[in-house]
C-alpha cells in the first residue's frame, strides 16, 4: 500500500486502539443501560401487580359478579365480559374508520385540502383529554337516549382509537416503496385494487401494530367510560344498558375504604394487563401467519 508512510507511529496507533476499545465498551454499556431503563417500568409494574393481585385471584374472581359491601368473595366476571364487549364495539368502529382514513390521506388525498384537514383533525383528536371525550359522548349519545349504555362507552373508546390508527396507517403506507406500487400498476391492476391488495398488504405488519397500540391504550381507559358505560354491578350484555368494565371497577374499588375491595382492585389490574398482553400477542400471531417473511 502506498499509504503506509502516512500512517501514524506505532505508539500513537496503540493508544488510539485503546481509546477505540474504551469508547466501544462505553457505547455498548449506554445502549444496554437504556434498554434496561426502558424495560424496568413495565417489569416493575408487572411484578408489583403479581405481588399484590395474584393472591386474590381465584375461580370466583372470573365467574362471579361483585358482592355487596360487607360480604366477602365475589368477582369481576361481569367487568371482564363488559370490557370485552366495549372493546369489540370500539374496534368495530375505530379500526375500519381509522384504516380507511389513513388510506385516504396516504393514497388518494395527497396534496388535497381535505387530506390535510383529516390529518390535522386526527392529531388534534389524539390530544383531546379522554375525560373530554367522555363528556362529549355523554352530550351526544347519553343525553338524547336519557340513559347510560354500553354503546355510548364503545363509541367513546372507538373514537379515541381512530387518530392513532389513521396516522400509523398513513405512515406505514407511505413507507411502501414506489417500485412495489409500480409493479402492481404495470400488471394492469386498477389503482384501488393495488392499494388494497398490494400497498396495504405490504404495510400490514405496521398497520396491525398501530391498531394494537390503539387497542391497548383504550383498553385501560377509565375516564371516557365514567359518563358513558357508567359501570354495572350485575350481569349485562345489552348494548343499550350500562355495562361494567375492568378499569371502572378497579377505579371504584380502589377508591373504596374496604380492604377486601382493595385486594380485588389489585387482582382486577393484574387481569386487565394480562388480557391486554395476551390479546395483542394473539392478534400478532394470527396476523403474522398470513404474511411470509422475506429475507432481504
Amino acid at each position: 500500500m502506498a499509504s503506509t508512510t502516512a500512517m501514524p507511529p506505532l505508539r500513537a496507533r496503540a493508544s488510539n486502539r485503546f481509546l477505540r476499545v474504551v469508547v466501544n465498551h462505553l457505547a455498548t454499556a449506554a445502549a444496554v443501560g437504556s434498554t434496561i431503563l426502558v424495560m424496568a417500568p413495565l417489569i416493575a409494574i408487572f411484578a408489583y401487580l403479581l405481588f399484590k393481585g395474584a393472591s386474590s385471584l381465584n375461580l370466583a374472581f372470573f365467574t362471579q359478579v361483585p358482592k355487596p359491601v360487607g360480604e366477602t368473595g365475589g368477582g369481576m366476571a361481569n367487568s371482564i365480559l363488559g370490557s370485552g364487549i366495549l372493546l369489540a364495539v370500539a374496534s368495530l368502529m375505530g379500526v375500519p374508520i381509522g384504516i380507511a382514513g389513513g388510506i385516504y390521506i396516504a393514497e388518494f388525498g395527497r396534496n388535497k385540502r381535505l387530506a390535510n384537514m383529516v390529518r390535522f383533525t386526527a392529531d388534534v383528536l389524539n390530544g383531546v383529554p379522554s375525560i373530554v371525550m367522555g363528556i362529549a359522548i355523554y352530550t351526544l349519545i347519553v343525553v338524547p337516549q336519557k340513559h347510560f349504555s354500553a354503546l355510548a362507552g364503545g363509541v367513546a373508546l372507538g373514537i379515541m382509537m381512530i387518530p392513532t390508527i389513521t396516522r400509523t396507517t398513513e405512515e406505514m403506507l407511505l413507507m411502501v416503496p414506489l417500485n412495489v406500487r409500480e409493479a402492481a400498476l404495470g400488471l394492469g391492476v386498477p389503482n384501488w385494487r393495488s392499494v388494497l391488495s398490494i400497498t396495504l398488504r405490504t404495510a400490514s405488519p405496521g398497520v396491525i401494530t398501530g391498531c394494537m397500540l390503539a387497542f391497548a391504550r383504550v383498553a385501560g381507559e377509565t375516564a371516557p367510560l365514567l359518563f358513558t358505560a357508567f359501570g354495572n354491578q350485575f350481569w349485562s350484555t345489552s348494548l343499550n344498558e350500562p355495562i361494567a368494565a375492568l378499569p371502572l371497577q378497579i377505579f371504584v374499588y380502589a377508591l373504596s375504604p374496604y380492604d377486601e375491595w382493595h385486594r380485588l382492585a389489585w387482582a382486577g389490574a393484574l387481569v386487565l394487563i394480562v388480557l391486554i398482553v395476551v390479546s395483542v400477542a394473539l392478534v400478532r400471531y394470527v396476523a403474522g401467519r398470513g404474511v411470509l417473511k422475506g429475507v432481504s
Binding site: 402492481a184 400498476l185 404495470g186 394492469g188 391492476v189 398490494i198 398488504r201 404474511v291 422475506g294
Partner: protein, 252 residues
C-alpha cells in the same frame, strides 16, 4: 403473438420539463428493439409512455399518438387495459415482498379477479419456465417469499410475473443493470428466446447488450430520437455524428 408499435409525434413533460420531443418511430413485431443513450436522455420516459405509466406521476403529461397493434392507446383504451397487454420489467427487481413465489407470478391474474386454480397452476409453471426460473424454485413455490430469492432470480421472477398475464409487448427498463454478469447473461438469453413470441423494447446503458440482443436500436439524446436503425448499422456505420460520438465513447 407480438404486435407492432407505432409512435408518432410523442411529447412528454415532467412539470415544465420537456423530456421527450417529437418522437416518431415504428417498433416491429416479434423483434427486440434496444434504446440507448446517456442518463436523463428520455429513454426511460419513452418506454413509460408506451404503457401509460408516465401519467401515474402526478406531474407527468403526454401528447401525440401511440398505436399498439390496432389500438391507439391514448384515445381508445384505459390505462389499466393497456398495461395488461403490455408487460413491464423495471430496473430494480420488485417482487411483492409479502407474497410467495407462486403468488407473485399469479398476482396479475388474481388481482384482476381470475380464480380458477388449475389454470393458475398451469400459468405459473409455464411462466416460470419461460423465465428460466422453474427448476430453481419449483420446490419452494408456496414456501418461500419472492423477496428471499437472489437479485437475478428476483428479476426473472418479475419477468415471469409479467409473462403470466400473456402480454403482447414486453417493456424492459434496464432489466439487468442491477445484476451481476452471470444473471445478466441469463436475462439476455431470455430476451433472445422471448422475442419470437413478444415484441420487446429494452432500455440499456450497456451497448454490448444492445448489440447482442436487439435487431434494431434507437439512440436518444436530450429528449430527442437522434437515430433509429438496424443495430449493426447503428454500431458500425451510424448516419449521425452524435451517434458515432456516443458509440465510440467520446461523450456520455
Amino acid at each position: 403473438m407480438g404486435v407492432e408499435i407505432e409512435v408518432s409525434d410523442l411529447n412528454a413533460w415532467y412539470g415544465t420539463n420537456h423530456t421527450l420531443q417529437n418522437i416518431s418511430l415504428r417498433i416491429p413485431a416479434n423483434h427486440a428493439t434496444a434504446l440507448i443513450g446517456p442518463s436523463g436522455c428520455g429513454k426511460s420516459t419513452f418506454v413509460r409512455c408506451l404503457n401509460r405509466m408516465h401519467e401515474t406521476n402526478p406531474i407527468g403529461r403526454v401528447t401525440g399518438t401511440v398505436r399498439v397493434g390496432p389500438t391507439d392507446i391514448y384515445a381508445q383504451a384505459s390505462p389499466v387495459e393497456i398495461r395488461r397487454r403490455i408487460g413491464m420489467v423495471f430496473q430494480r427487481p420488485n417482487p411483492f415482498p409479502t407474497m410467495s413465489i407462486y403468488d407473485n407470478v399469479a398476482s396479475g391474474l388474481r388481482l384482476n379477479g381470475f380464480r380458477n386454480r388449475k389454470v393458475l397452476d398451469e400459468v405459473v409453471e409455464r411462466s416460470l419456465e419461460q423465465a428460466a426460473l422453474w427448476d430453481e424454485v419449483k420446490n419452494d413455490l408456496k414456501k418461500k417469499s419472492g423477496a428471499s430469492l437472489s437479485g437475478g432470480q428476483q428479476q426473472r421472477l418479475c419477468i415471469a410475473r409479467a409473462l403470466a398475464v400473456d402480454p403482447e409487448v414486453m417493456l424492459m427498463d434496464e432489466p439487468a443493470s442491477a445484476l451481476d454478469p452471470v444473471s445478466t447473461a441469463k436475462i439476455e438469453d431470455l430476451i433472445f428466446q422471448l422475442k419470437s413470441q413478444y415484441t420487446i423494447v429494452i432500455v440499456t446503458h450497456n451497448m454490448q447488450q444492445a448489440a447482442r440482443v436487439a435487431e434494431n436500436t434507437g439512440f436518444f439524446l436530450n429528449g430527442k430520437l437522434v437515430e433509429f436503425d438496424a443495430t449493426h448499422k447503428i454500431f458500425t456505420n451510424p448516419t449521425d455524428k452524435r451517434t458515432e460520438d456516443y458509440i465510440t465513447g467520446r461523450f456520455g
